[in-house]
């Protein structure tokens, strides 16, 4: 079944085909998965049910976080052989609760896994959540991640998406930020071989003093193709609010291609909004400087890339997972 997804909120000329992504969701995909492992669930209310997503049977997991946790609650999903997963995960962080959660998707085999993840996250007043979704599926997988979030008054969400696995990586995030709340999206993507990466992030400052940010760091190799769509919108009444958007695409191959569509939509005068995008090879001056200090070109490239992505990885409070991510990236450079 063909679907148009990742549509930008305001259409533009059709010549670059950036208004949305037409994607084929196979009709014959059925959820076949043995479940997740969680390291610590005593602060959670978990409820698993069945649901339907895009006419496919799916798994639904509702999570209510009722008390603080300092070290992260980690949900590990291991895809093996014929595993496919279509799932919906709904997370609510209750008032004044401060939580830290990681959803880690890894592959045990190199089959063509299919993973469709629909997440909704709601942060109640005064709460905070440091949330990471890590896609380290096999290079043959298809990964579609769709996140909706709402950050209520004085709450603080940091959402980290590490999108490394799969030959097709599609992600979207729709965020609403309310009174004096903070809503940060951090993304790292990696494209190799003939990978297709397609993103659409749309964050809205709904009320006064709302603060949202989109920070995307990407690495493209080989013939990978990436389309980045990012939108920050200020609605009327979102006075004294702030929105920033940064996209940095490090293109390590002359055969890679990069499309960027960073939108800034403003219906309120009393705001500070900015976006910036940069695309291209690694800065030659930086490379030269590091190589003049005795590093090889490969070592210098690794250092520059890690310098760009480490501020995001630092949000993930699990050393093993960060090491796995780092190794996964360095091994293909």
């Amino acid at each position: 079944m063909k679907q148009i997804i990742n549509e930008i909120p305001i259409k533009t000329t059709n010549s670059f085909k950036v208004n949305g992504l037409e994607i084929e969701i196979p009709d014959n995909i059925t959820t076949h998965f043995h479940g997740y492992e969680v390291n610590d669930d005593h602060n959670l209310i978990l409820e698993t049910t069945k649901t339907t997503i895009m006419n496919h049977d799916a798994v639904k997991l509702n999570i209510k976080i009722t008390s603080n946790n300092e070290s992260p609650i980690i949900f590990n999903y291991y895809f093996d052989q014929a595993d496919n997963l279509i799932e919906e995960i709904n997370i609510e962080v209750l008032n004044n609760v401060h939580a830290n959660i990681i959803f880690n998707y890894a592959a045990l085999s190199k089959e063509q896994h299919f993973h469709y993840l629909k997440q909704t996250i709601k942060l109640d007043n005064e709460s905070s959540l440091n949330f990471s979704t890590i896609n380290m599926l096999s290079s043959n997988a298809t990964s579609i991640i769709k996140v909706d979030n709402e950050v209520l008054s004085n709450a603080n969400l940091t959402y980290n998406l590490i999108d490394l696995g799969g030959s097709t990586k599609v992600s979207s995030s729709y965020g609403k930020t309310y009174d004096n709340a903070i809503n940060n999206l951090n993304v790292i993507y990696l494209g190799t071989n003939e990978d297709l990466i397609d993103t659409n992030y749309y964050y809205i400052n709904e009320e006064t003093l709302a603060n949202c940010a989109i920070n995307v760091q990407g690495i493209l190799l080989d013939h990978a193709k990436k389309t980045f769509r990012g939108t920050i919108e200020f609605v009327s009444g979102a006075t004294s609010s702030v929105g920033n958007e940064i996209e940095n695409c490090m293109m390590l191959s002359n055969d890679a291609s990069s499309i960027s569509v960073p939108l800034l939509l403003c219906n309120e005068e009393d705001v500070i909004g900015s976006h910036s995008a940069s695309n291209g090879e690694i800065n030659k001056d930086q490379l030269f400087y590091l190589m003049s200090k005795g590093l090889t070109k490969k070592e210098a490239i690794n250092i520059i890339i890690m310098a760009n992505i480490n501020p995001i990885l630092n949000n993930i409070n699990n050393e093993k997972i960060v090491n796995d991510i780092t190794h996964s990236i360095i091994s293909v450079l």
């Binding site: 533009t12 000329t13 569509v261 800034l264 005068e269 705001v271 695309n279 291209g280």
Partner: protein, 466 residues
Amino acid sequence: MKTRVEENTTLQNIYDIKTKHEFVDKEYGLTKETIEKISASKNEPSWVLEFRLKALELFHELKDPDWGPDISYLDINKIATYVKPNSKENKSWDDVPDEIKNVFDKLGIPESEKEQMAGVGAQFDSEIIYHNLEDKLKERGVIYCNFDKAITLYPELIAKYFAKIVPVTDHKYIALHYALFSGGSFIYIPKGIKLELPLQSYFRLNEPGAGQFEHTLIIVDDDASLEFIEGCSAPGYNDLNLHAGCVELYVGKNAHLRFSTIENWSKNLLNLNTKKCIVAENGKIEWIMGSFGSKVSMLYPLSVLNGEYAKASYTLLSFAGNGQNLDTGLKVIHNAPNTTLYCDSKSISKDGGICTFRSNVYVAKKAVNANIAISCESLMLDSISRSDTIPVSNINNNQILFSHEASVGKISPDMIYYLMSRGLSEKEAAALIVEGFAEPIAKSFPVEYAVEMNRLINLELEGTIG
């Protein structure tokens, strides 16, 4: 902090002068017969009529864009598609009918011609009523004439360039343009000729409910240079007016073209203009545009950087007030190595006005070492206005430098406070900040036009600043 600017009675809107003029012919709608009549009145070669009729078919086949401002209320059958003024083309302002000359006098066109122009063209509704070029430039082979005349006078150049840079299939309203084109300017600057003074064409749309479809074709041959200034205005009426002009530019090897526009159409006009430029090796196109008028504008000048080391620069200012939706920007195709794009865009929105900046940048695989820097700043003067930035870049090699920056915000209360602490009134402080915001654009124009642009900004600022 809210600032009110009191009514400045010393500012008169010279652009809104309404002139009663008896036209010779006025055609409504868009039929084969209308087009045949227009073509016959111009004694055109038969191929032009065939081309117009083909364009008419295309106009009916093509669809409105499914993006951008709503223009669905445009009914071409209610537009006077051809209005012939009661004046032939003149080489002396003394021969221009008084009521038309008075309009251009008030716009300052004859005066600027005396002081700072190498040549001037003036169009009133559908026809050129004045065209002149310094004799010494004619002797050096420079051509500057009414586009309608160029079709018969310079058939080889027309065959080589006309409708080649902007093809008839480009979009629905360029098809409309090619069906109805009338007037406009043709310029040819021979190899190695560098004009010291600019040429200027001024397009005045006077008749209520009329359309203007002028065609401008400029060829700056190898090693030549030209500065061209385009002015546009219309008085305000209740009827919907339409402007669907077309500008085709060719910049040869090592050539330079600066194309400046101050556009102040009336706020009952749809401005669906198309501008494109092809730039050869080491050539440079500079677009300088101040967009103040029109109800809706959709204008995205395209530069095709076809030659190695070709350059494009854009200096853009939009100012949208009540009832205006100015959707402007740029398109650039990097099609050769070592090409450069620089863009500095600024917009100001007030009283519910909408400014949208769109950029489309394509870098071909072979266009290595492209250097691209786009900066887009938006100033919001109230919370009922809107400012959107919609940039698209499509990059197909990694040996480039690409950066895009955009920001949006209001007049800083700290800046107002600072200037007031130096003795300025609140309104003076706010006006100074807005002028300072627009200054990089204004200073790109010749000094008299920079003054004109500041005058326009002050006209637009009458009423609420922020």
